[in-house]
Subunit: 349 residues, 2 copies
């Protein structure tokens, strides 16, 4: 089969490797219908030190089940499935609380052990917890728009949704979304879905912020840094934003977040932090009782509700994809996203 | 009158200064019944650079009103009052939301402009928002225990209560309190008041943790650092604590907090942070979706409900005071608290 590996910054290769096989009775083997490239894949694409080994890449997938291990009960060959970006048993204490990204037996794709999902086939560990069947659907019969929207439920849309949910977005609230990437735009759509009164989108790319406005943004702020903070404070009568959804992961975005959050408000982060230490003392969070939330989205917790919303057309998060390529073209897909020529790239098998 | 000033680390002086006068029609002048020394006063006591000016000290007070400005309507001379540790108008947009420490017109005691409350008299700005009358009570007739408990409503008990409240303490939850100072013990009492199932108190001073057990702690962990983290993880079946109340403000306490917080749990800080930057990335908060909350307690928001609880004997937070001194003896009071010989020192007029 074909699979994607990163050997260092800017060095992505698609290689022929042995087909995956069932290793554990809880595994499934799936055949990719669509995968995609994530904003978080760009962090190593910009900074990874060169290696001889190559890291398997990809963690977003819709697929058809090929084969299941002896203990897999919830899916069978031929089922059309969505794979959350992390695998989990969906039965442990944290899974039962809806925090499947902290599953005691779960983990992340993209290791030597588990492989990545930018590939034509994949081994899915703990398949009963890690694959969700799309009911009454045959992958071949879906139109491209629905395929795209279902694919976003693997990560990007439900990551934006997680940001809004742990940020406690609700009617009457002013939400500011920092970042006009696919997660930021998803956070806008999720904020609208949760009834936010006002949604300020901070982003500089008009094509993207235009889509943000279609998704529900009521204001767009193109300025960044101190100017961006001043603009949002101005838009909020000097009070700041009840909720700030930080969908970037770099320090300047976090600095904007605590600059604009209202006293007593919430900063919800879903951009994977590219820093470990950051300001949280009296001058940033503590003095104004600002709260901080967020982390890897427990997509599995939200999937069952989101699939029907996509199938019914209630939400159309797949519009974040603006380019479709084949698996062989994945290196060019990284280059296009890395250069911001593409917002989010979908990959066919 | 007598008032307390700090001139540098270890250098506290009680000096005779002019009596305060009404400056604004919204001011009141009050005569101290009891004030006290705060754990946060110890931060400059240990680290302040020497000055010639002297900083006025103190922000906790129960008092009798002496005189009021022309626009003061809610209190009158002779009223027995509690003064929250910050002043506020209690009418601005943030005050109306219960976040009086972010009052647009409010501020902190202990400036050259406003003075400190470790003094025999004080000018209280915005008196209608900054003084709360204790109903049907004459300061002279209260016993020492009630005076002590009412004094804790100025800051320490309601700061512990704020920690527990923004930490969302409720029945069924495991709470860990870091710090056996007066705020930590108050946080234990508040956690019990809010129905926590289990309260783990981290502290090394047996006299203090014994009082913590009387206040409701179900477990005491004397170990600190990695050992302390391991002990709490052990006590929580390896899952961690739903809620961590950090009542110290130094980095090692914060490090313990993120070490023991459960995935999806909340760290609530009320110890004034003696740092600005701290770990919040993937390895500390983000990876496990831990939340961070806390800040200066909006005591004013909680006072009306707390006063009757004290007067009825439902709560007895005044037990954190283990020494009473006169105003002239305040320098010795700082020394005793600084050396941990006293838990919390009450000051008579």
């Amino acid at each position: 089969m074909l699979a994607t590996f990163m050997y260092g910054a800017g060095d992505v290769r698609v290689e022929t490797v042995p087909d995956p096989i069932i290793k554990n009775p809880t595994d499934a083997i799936v055949r990719t219908v669509r995968s995609c490239i994530c904003g978080s894949d760009l962090h190593p694409y910009h900074s990874m030190h060169a290696t001889h080994q190559g890291n398997p890449m990809g963690h977003e997938l819709i697929a058809v089940v090929e084969e299941v291990g002896a203990e897999v009960a919830s899916v069978k060959p031929g089922d059309f499935v969505v794979a959350p970006f992390a695998f989990q048993d969906n039965t442990c204490v944290f899974c039962r609380e809806g925090l499947q990204t902290s599953c005691i037996h779960g983990g992340w794709y993209g290791s030597a052990e588990t492989g990545g999902l930018q590939a034509s086939l994949a081994r899915i560990p703990l398949a009963d917890g890690s694959l969700v069947k799309v009911p009454d659907v045959d992958g071949d019969s879906l139109d491209e728009g629905l395929l795209a929207s279902l694919l976003t439920l693997s990560d990007v849309y439900l990551t934006g949704y997680h940001a809004a949910r742990v940020g406690r977005v609700k009617p009457g609230k002013t939400v500011t979304v920092i970042g006009d990437g696919a997660v930021g735009l998803s956070a806008v759509l999720a904020s609208r879905q949760l009834g936010a009164e006002r949604i300020i989108l901070m982003g500089r790319h008009a094509v993207r912020t235009d889509l943000g406005v279609e998704f529900g943004a009521t204001d767009v702020v193109a300025e960044r840094g101190a100017e961006g903070v001043a603009r949002v404070m101005d838009l909020t009568s000097g009070e700041g934003s009840h909720i700030v959804l930080e969908a970037v992961g770099h320090m300047p975005a976090y600095e904007q977040a605590y600059g604009i959050v209202r006293p007593g408000g919430i900063i919800s982060r879903v951009g994977v932090p590219q820093y470990e230490e950051a300001p949280i003392g009296f001058g940033s969070l503590f003095g104004k009782n600002a709260r901080l939330a967020g982390g890897p989205a427990p997509v599995r917790a939200y999937l069952d509700a989101a699939i029907p919303q996509v199938l019914s057309g209630e939400i159309d998060p797949g519009r974040v994809f603006d380019r479709t390529i084949t698996l062989q073209e994945v290196p060019a897909g990284y280059a296009a996203m890395g250069a911001r020529e593409a917002l989010k790239v979908m990959v066919t098998a």
